[in-house]
């Protein structure tokens, strides 16, 4: 007992063998740093650009316009009876949050290498801060969505779509997407630290991933024999759920939900393990 009181701030440094999970207590001790990093992310982003936070409004709108031109006008992919602007914008909400968070977490080791080589803090704080700071663009994008929703709904051509009460559950979807992007980002961060190839691979894979996810098309249009592929994509459920909640135009099922959540958790746990493993000697291999 005497031992425990004395060792309250005792740190033992030795080679770790095997697997180690999250140093929760340490991450908690550095919570102030976590918030400051979130804040630094946001502040530095708007200080460095002329449009500042306005970028978060402009970007999804431009993407939506491009999608409308290509997928609606040229490819003529139906949007489940919902105005295409709303359909694409709704799909981009979870997808953009996922993609941006994935990109910043997967860079968290290599782009902070210089800092990691000089001072210790739980490395996990870095990717965690990106998961949180990317919530701001998501929120701005959501507001943009509501504005356009209102304009479309009460404009001349109203449709049969409706935001349901289930929209209140949207935060849960955001949490799942956040966890998924953290998990995949940790995997790539660890692998990129070891092999630079993964840095290139990941941005390419992200593009392909978007087309495999029902962002620009409704899940109902996926041919039955390819359905299993769509279902095994953990991003499918969040997309469909978001469309249902905000537009009543998705088709999430319990099976989709279970698969998605199971894969998300598996990726997170694996990601944390491999990240923690690589992080220990990461500075030796920069």
């Amino acid at each position: 007992m005497n031992e425990t009181t004395e060792s309250k701030s005792e740190t033992v440094i030795e080679a770790t063998h095997g697997l180690h999970f999250v140093p929760w207590r340490e991450v908690y001790a550095y919570r102030d740093l976590l918030w400051l990093l979130v804040w630094r992310d946001i502040v530095s982003r708007y200080k460095q650009t002329v449009l500042g936070l306005l970028w978060f409004v402009v970007q999804p709108i431009l993407t939506t316009i491009v999608f409308m031109a290509i997928f609606e006008r040229v490819a003529r992919i139906p949007t489940n009876g919902v105005p295409s602007s709303l359909f694409y914008m709704c799909g981009l909400l979870p997808w953009n949050y996922f993609a941006q968070t994935f990109q910043s977490t997967s860079n968290s080791l290599t782009s902070n290498a210089a800092m990691f080589g000089k001072v210790y803090f739980p490395r996990l704080v870095m990717p965690l801060s990106s998961v949180i700071s990317n919530l701001l663009p998501l929120a701005i994008q959501l507001v943009t969505f509501f504005v356009i929703y209102t304009l479309e709904k009460f404009g001349p051509r109203s449709g049969s779509y409706n935001m349901g009460l289930s929209a209140a559950l949207l935060p849960l979807i955001v949490v799942q997407v956040g966890i998924l992007s953290l998990g995949t980002g940790l995997w790539i961060a660890a692998l990129t630290a070891k092999f630079r190839d993964f840095g290139i691979l990941s941005s390419f894979a992200l593009q392909l991933w978007m087309y495999m996810t029902p962002v620009v098309y409704p899940l109902s249009r996926v041919p039955p024999r390819w359905y299993w592929l769509a279902a095994s994509n953990p991003m499918t459920f969040p997309l469909e759920a978001t469309k249902t909640m905000l537009l009543g135009a998705g088709s999430p099922t319990l099976a989709l939900f279970s698969i998605s959540v199971a894969i998300t958790l598996a990726i997170l746990v694996g990601g944390i393990f491999i990240f923690q493993h690589i992080e220990k000697t990461f500075v030796d291999v920069i």
């Binding site: 080679a15 530095s44 000089k118 210790y120 092999f195």
Partner: protein, 416 residues
Amino acid sequence: MGRPIIEVRNLSKQYRLGAIGATSLREEFHRYWDRLRGKPSPDEKEFWALRDVSFDVQPGEAIGVIGRNGAGKSTLLKILSRITEPTSGRAVMRGRVASLLEVGTGFHPELTGRENIFLNGAILGMTKAEVRRKFDEIVAFAEVEKFIDTPVKHYSSGMYVRLAFAVAAHLEPEILIVDEVLSVGDIQFQKKSLGKMRHVAADEGRTVLFVSHNMAAVRQLCSSALLLKNGRLHLAASAAEAIESYVESSDQTGSSEGFQFRNKHPDLQLLKADVEKASIVYNDSLTVRTLWQVRRPMQFAIECVIRDHLMAPLAFHGTGVIAGYEFVFPAGIAEVVIHYPRLPLAQGHYSMDIIAARSGREFFVYAEGAVSFQVDLAIPMQAGYWFSQGNGSVYLPCEVSAEAPRTRVGLGRPTP
């Protein structure tokens, strides 16, 4: 004596040379393929940066860590500050640790001084409340009151460094790990930071682990010191004793045997460095002949630093940054001759670092103490004054005038 605050047991760290650095999958595949065919990979060499190092530090002690480049000092500090893991062995730190391996870590140029203080403080392990409590003190110490709400990208480099050090200096750890930070800033500020560190060690009773090449600073600040040699703990003794042993061990006058150098470039190696006459007198010339192996054509400058007996740098010359030229070497063995026409140095022992570098950008080779030499006789003055290192090692011509008559004096050699 109670329980030691730092307990290090058989700490070792192994690096695999050649395998250092992130690789591409292609390289990894090649290596794997070579191994499959039983061909030993040519560039993979294991080397121990730290080997079986054990020591204890008592609370309140200030310990210097000395040794040449490559002796393992930085590796030791990196392990103790948890930046990297040891390969084997164990260290126990009983108290909050803060390390200042380099000041200004995590400063963001777009953020103001105020914002950076909070961010940097948090990175170094302070809570927001702690930073807030120390804020005024930090700002005053750094002397940046007027610019505290200006983005640090508009700061002069002096202000930047002062602010960074100020944050770090106001941490309240039980164990403070410091690496060479004293070489930053102007003289005034260096004095101030040295004072702050002494205050931290002596008056606040904190434990300090201090790595430096500046023997004078180590002697001033530390009660005892660890001398590392080739990754092993060579000597743990009082600071004075350790410094003496360190200086003596680099006392192989004139020879190029056993010098440590840091080769950072795979295609360039310093093979040999010899001083033509290892024992000179005041104002003699000095010629150093060096042989380099250049594996592929490359361009670089040759720089040299003369150090005194305490390893403090005295004189610097660089073909790139000083004289404005670099050499373009073809592949092969190259001889480089460094010639000082006159060295107005005091009697005593000196060493010279020889460096190959891209001017102002990076070091390819840093051979610390590549050669050393002795100045035996130094009587530069009219008065016959015996010029020794104690009063300063270099003689610079100087004119002194006064509205008063002059009279001649003569002095012999002062009795020591």
